[in-house]
C-alpha cells in the first residue's frame, strides 16, 4: 500500500491541455496537486524563501506550459528541475548579496487570522517531519524529499539533481540511516531551525 498519491493520474493529459489553453480551473487542479510537494521541497532546501521561489516557479510554468509535452511524471520532473534551478540561482544571489535580517520576518511569521487549531496541528505534524529531514546534509535531504514527498523514482531524481541513479540511491540510503539513528534518539536538534522533538 502506498502513502502519498497522485491526484490527477488519468485526468492529467486533459487537465494539462486545458491549463495550457488558459483554463483557470484546470490550472488550479494542477496547482493543488503539485504545489504542496513543491513547497515542501523548497522549504527543506531554502527555508523561509520557499514561498517566493515557488511563486517564481509557477510564473515560469504559466509562461511555458503551452510548450510542455509529456505525462504527469514528466511534468513533475520538469517542474522540479525548474524549481531546483531557481534554488541554485537564489543561493548564488544570496551568496553575492547577503541580506541582514529585519523586523519583517516577525511580521511574516504571524499566523493568519483564520488559522484554526486543527490546521495548526496538522501543519506542525508535517512541518516536524520536514524539519527532521532538513537536518540532513542538503543533497541527502533534497533526494529524500524528491523520492518520498514528490514520489519520483531514482532515475527521475538523478536527472533532476544531475547525478547517477546509483549515487542517488547511496545518498538516499545514507540519509535514511542517519534519520533512523536520530529517530531512535527521540530528540533531534537542528542548528538552523531549532530543535525537533518526536
Amino acid at each position: 500500500m502506498l502513502y502519498g498519491r497522485f491526484v490527477l493520474d488519468g485526468d492529467f493529459p486533459e487537465v494539462l491541455r486545458r491549463a495550457a489553453a488558459g483554463d483557470a480551473s484546470a490550472f488550479a487542479r494542477l496547482w493543488r496537486d503539485t504545489h504542496p510537494p513543491l513547497l515542501r521541497y523548497l522549504w527543506v532546501s531554502a527555508g523561509d524563501a520557499a514561498e517566493d521561489v515557488a511563486a517564481d516557479v509557477w510564473l515560469e510554468v504559466a509562461r511555458r506550459i503551452g510548450s510542455f509535452r509529456g505525462g504527469e511524471h514528466e511534468f513533475r520532473g520538469w517542474l522540479f528541475t525548474m524549481a531546483r534551478r531557481k534554488l541554485i540561482d537564489r543561493h548564488r544571489y544570496e551568496a553575492r548579496r547577503p541580506v541582514s535580517p529585519t523586523g519583517d520576518g516577525e511580521l511574516l511569521d504571524r499566523p493568519a487570522a483564520d488559522d484554526t487549531g486543527t490546521a495548526a496541528l496538522d501543519y506542525i505534524s508535517t512541518e516536524t517531519a520536514l524539519a527532521l529531514i532538513a537536518t540532513l546534509p542538503r543533497d541527502q535531504a533534497e533526494i529524500i524529499v524528491l523520492r518520498v514527498v514528490v514520489g519520483l523514482d531514482a532515475n527521475a531524481v538523478a536527472q533532476i539533481v544531475g547525478k547517477s541513479p546509483g549515487a542517488v540511491r547511496v545518498a538516499a540510503h545514507r540519509g535514511l540511516r542517519t534519520l533512523r539513528e536520530r529517530v531512535a534518539d527521540g530528540t533531534v536538534t537542528s542548528p538552523g531551525r531549532g530543535g525537533v522533538t518526536l
Binding site: Y3, G4, R32, T126, A129, G151, R169
Partner: protein
C-alpha cells in the same frame, strides 16, 4: 601478478553485495517507494516510516491558502493563445488575397470573352479595354414595327464603330458577308444584312427588325441571331 584465493573470495563477496541489497537497503527502498513496512518491522524503522508518511501527507490548508493568488498570477502571466493571436492575422489576409486574385482573374477572363452582363461588360470595356457589350444588350427589345432600335440609333453617327474606336478586333468568329457593315464603319444595318449575318452564324434565318439589325460593328452576336424570334 598473482592473486591469492583469499582476495578472489573477497572480490566475489563484494560483487554479490553490490548486486544484492542488504536488509537495510531493501528496507530503505521500501521506505523511499512509500510502501508500508508492516507490523513486524523494528520500532525505529516504523517510527521512521511514520515520519516519512507525515512528510508526504495530504496538503494542509495553509499550503493551499495561496490558490487564488496563484490562479490570478497564472492568468496574468499566460501568453495569448497562439492560434488566436498568431495564425488569425496571418492566415486571413492570405486567404483574402488568394480569393481576390482568383476573382479578378475570372472577371478579366469573362470580360475578355465578352460574357459579362451588359453593364459590367461596359464597365470592363472602359476600364480594361475589354470588348464592348452589344448595344442592344440590357435594353428593352423594341417591337417589330418600324421604330428603330437603340442599336440603329447609336450607329447613325458618322464616327467609327466601337471596335474601330478602341482598336480592338471584333470577337466575331466569322465575318459577315456584307461589305457594308465592315467597310464603311457606319454600321447602318439593313434587314438583309442582319438576315444574312444571322443566317450565316446562327441558322435562324428569320430576319430581324431594323433595331435588331443595328449592330454597329456588323458582327453577329448572340442577341443578333437568337433574339430574332419576334416576327
Amino acid at each position: 601478478m598473482r592473486v591469492s584465493a583469499a582476495s578472489l573470495a573477497e572480490m566475489w563477496s563484494s560483487t554479490r553485495k553490490r548486486n544484492r541489497l542488504s536488509p537495510d537497503e531493501a528496507t530503505a527502498e521500501l521506505l523511499l517507494s512509500r510502501r508500508h513496512l508492516g507490523r513486524h518491522a523494528p520500532a525505529d524503522q516504523r517510527t521512521l516510516e511514520m515520519v516519512l508518511a507525515a512528510a508526504a501527507g495530504p496538503a494542509t490548508e495553509r499550503e493551499l491558502a495561496g490558490e487564488t493568488a496563484a490562479v490570478t498570477a497564472f492568468l496574468a502571466a499566460l501568453p495569448e493563445p497562439e492560434p488566436a493571436r498568431r495564425r488569425g492575422p496571418r492566415r486571413l489576409p492570405a486567404l483574402a488575397v488568394a480569393f481576390a486574385l482568383v476573382a479578378i482573374v475570372a472577371l478579366c477572363g469573362t470580360a475578355e470573352a465578352g460574357a459579362l452582363p451588359a453593364p459590367l461588360q461596359r464597365l470592363a470595356h472602359q476600364a480594361i479595354n475589354a470588348p464592348a457589350p452589344p448595344p442592344d444588350a440590357g435594353v428593352p427589345r423594341p417591337s417589330a414595327d418600324v421604330t428603330p432600335g437603340p442599336g440603329a440609333k447609336a450607329s447613325t453617327g458618322s464616327g467609327p464603330s466601337q471596335e474601330a474606336r478602341t482598336g480592338k478586333p471584333s470577337v466575331s468568329p466569322k465575318p459577315t458577308h456584307t461589305s457594308d457593315s465592315q467597310g464603311s464603319g457606319n454600321g447602318q444595318p439593313t434587314a438583309s444584312d442582319n438576315a444574312q449575318s444571322g443566317t450565316t452564324d446562327n441558322g435562324n434565318g428569320n430576319g430581324g427588325t431594323p433595331g435588331q439589325g443595328g449592330n454597329p460593328s456588323g458582327h453577329p452576336t448572340g442577341n443578333n441571331g437568337n433574339g430574332n424570334g419576334q416576327n
